[in-house]
Amino acid sequence: MPPGTPGGTVSAAGLSRRWALGFLTPAMLLIGVFLAFPAVWTLYLGLTNFRLLGPQALHTKFIGAGNYQQALTGGDFLHSLYITVIYVLLSAVIGQCVLGFALAWVFRSWRGPLRRVLESLIIVAWIVPGSVVAFLWLAYLQGNIGPLTETGTLNTILGGIGVNWWLQWPMLSIVVFNIWRGTAFSMLLFGAAIQAIPPSYIETARVAGASSWQLLRDIVIPRSRGHILTNLLLISLWTFNDFTPYLLTGGGPGNQTQFLPVYIYQQAFDQGALGYGAAISTLVLLINLVIALAYMQILKERR
């Protein structure tokens, strides 16, 4: 340990504070300008009627809480928030989490080539770029409306029942899509959690005659509680902020899948209402902040 004289302290590696600050500068500058500043600036932008084009673009006015008033009373925002929460609950909190846990549990004692193939398949679904998987799912669930439109793989397998999933069941389709897309993360995280449980615990419980269900309830789930919470918060945050639904449905039909990121995009860039979009951004940032703080709290407790 170096002698910690204040002022011109030099660490063991010979790095003075001045050099250290110099080394930190490029990263801090980038983070400050392109990550921190936008987050703060959007607070201000949300209080204006900022537009990029049209007569209002020339004289941007400070309109106080007008955007927030519009958001909270207009219905569109509340609808969007509501379906986003439903989407997160069904696809991430229930779908990805339960399927991921089930797979991790099945995989724990199963070695062999088939397991590796299945596991890789699930992981590949997670890492293929979003704009490619979006098209794969558009094609997969396509139904034949009119004589010219082709049918996708699923309807063909189901015997040509001709359901147009994206038009008739948009929410269900997008929930199933997101379970397909994101289960890998939960599976891998829970796999690590289950591996961390001492095998003797499980053996002892087995010898004592515990059923699989009792084993899960009394040993596995309590011992992986930290992992489960971590997983829930991360996948909720990611699903809440996912822009892929825009590539799948563009928010439609109507506004049935207009989740918050899609809503912001359409308000700000299609309608040109950048001030209103910024106000919605602020609300999303606040929700993200709540989720992230909860996550940080858990990380701290586990240290």
Binding site: G22, L35, A36, L121, S131
Partner: protein, 290 residues
């Protein structure tokens, strides 16, 4: 053990019942796994088969095998340009992130920067809260004011800003676990901080730098929203946006082009993932994606 039981051996009846129950459990397990396999494989099948079919439909299949789609695809200038743009974006962002993160992580690991734990905590908080979706409006306006709309540089800077906190966090872990004794002796021989960083620290933490580099490339390669918003000039769009415009433009989608382009654009990420997975396992990649 049957001998330790006070009761007699189980009767044959309960024995078969146990067997049946075990068998049913097995069958249930296999049905579950078969359903899972179908659920994950079926949507993917189209991407694997259609590029090799001269008349692909929306149904996954291979009725007219060919390799001609690849030849045709390379005659499409938009494909080549967009792939080059993706390479440029990914490599550019990777260089910025690795360089800036290495400098910052070294400083945070070796010098007594006041409040460095709080700095890291706040940085990580920012990077998880300020997502592209939440901050698209201010990021667009910032790029507009800085004249960075329709520039690759603008996209690189925005993406780098978002990726840096996690990169610094991981690299600092790597640096903390390498001994400072080499650096001390180098300092005794009169090496300056830059020299020490370049000749001693960088070779020592090379695996960490490789992880950050691959992670950045994979993330940027697939990123859609930031280039979608900041690049409106079609000659600048990366592959992620280009492929979307191929199927969202209306009219009949060119399935030969989309499938072939999609496969070619996907392969690098899958290969890089497999390399990282085999070398470093889930620990690094898994916690970091997105």
């Amino acid at each position: 053990m049957a001998t330790t039981h006070p009761t007699p051996d189980p009767t044959p009846v309960s024995d078969t019942r146990w067997l049946v129950r075990a068998l049913v459990a097995r069958v249930q397990l296999y049905v579950f796994l078969a359903l899972v396999a179908a659920f994950f494989a079926l949507p993917m099948a189209w991407l694997v088969l259609s590029p090799f079919d001269s008349q692909p439909s929306l149904v996954a299949g291979l009725s007219h095998p060919t390799l001609g789609n690849f030849q045709d695809m390379f005659r499409n200038p938009a494909v080549i340009t967009s792939l080059l743009n993706s390479v440029l974006l990914a490599l550019g962002t990777m260089l910025v992130v690795v360089a800036a993160a290495a400098l910052a992580a070294y400083a945070l690991s070796r010098a007594r920067v006041p409040g460095r734990n709080i700095i890291l905590y706040v940085l990580l908080l920012f990077s998880s809260v300020v997502t592209g979706s939440a901050a698209m409006v201010p990021i667009f306006l910032l790029a507009y004011d800085l004249h960075l709309i329709n520039t690759i540089t603008g996209v690189i800077l925005v993406l780098a800003g978002g990726l840096l906190p996690a990169a610094i966090f991981i690299l600092k872990d790597f640096m903390d676990s390498t001994p400072a004794s080499y650096e001390e002796s180098a300092r005794v021989f009169g090496a300056g901080p830059f020299q020490i960083l370049r000749d001693i620290v960088v070779p020592l933490v090379r695996p960490g730098l490789a992880v950050i580099a691959v992670w950045t490339i994979v993330t940027v390669w697939g990123s859609f929203l930031t280039p979608f918003i900041l690049l409106r000039d079609p000659t600048l769009t990366p592959a992620s946006v280009q492929i979307y415009s191929f199927y969202s433009a209306g009219g009949t989608a060119n399935l030969r082009l989309i499938s072939t382009f999609g496969l070619l654009y996907t392969i690098p990420v899958v290969v890089m993932y497999l390399v990282v997975q085999n070398r470093y396992g889930f620990r690094f990649y898994g916690g970091l994606k997105r």
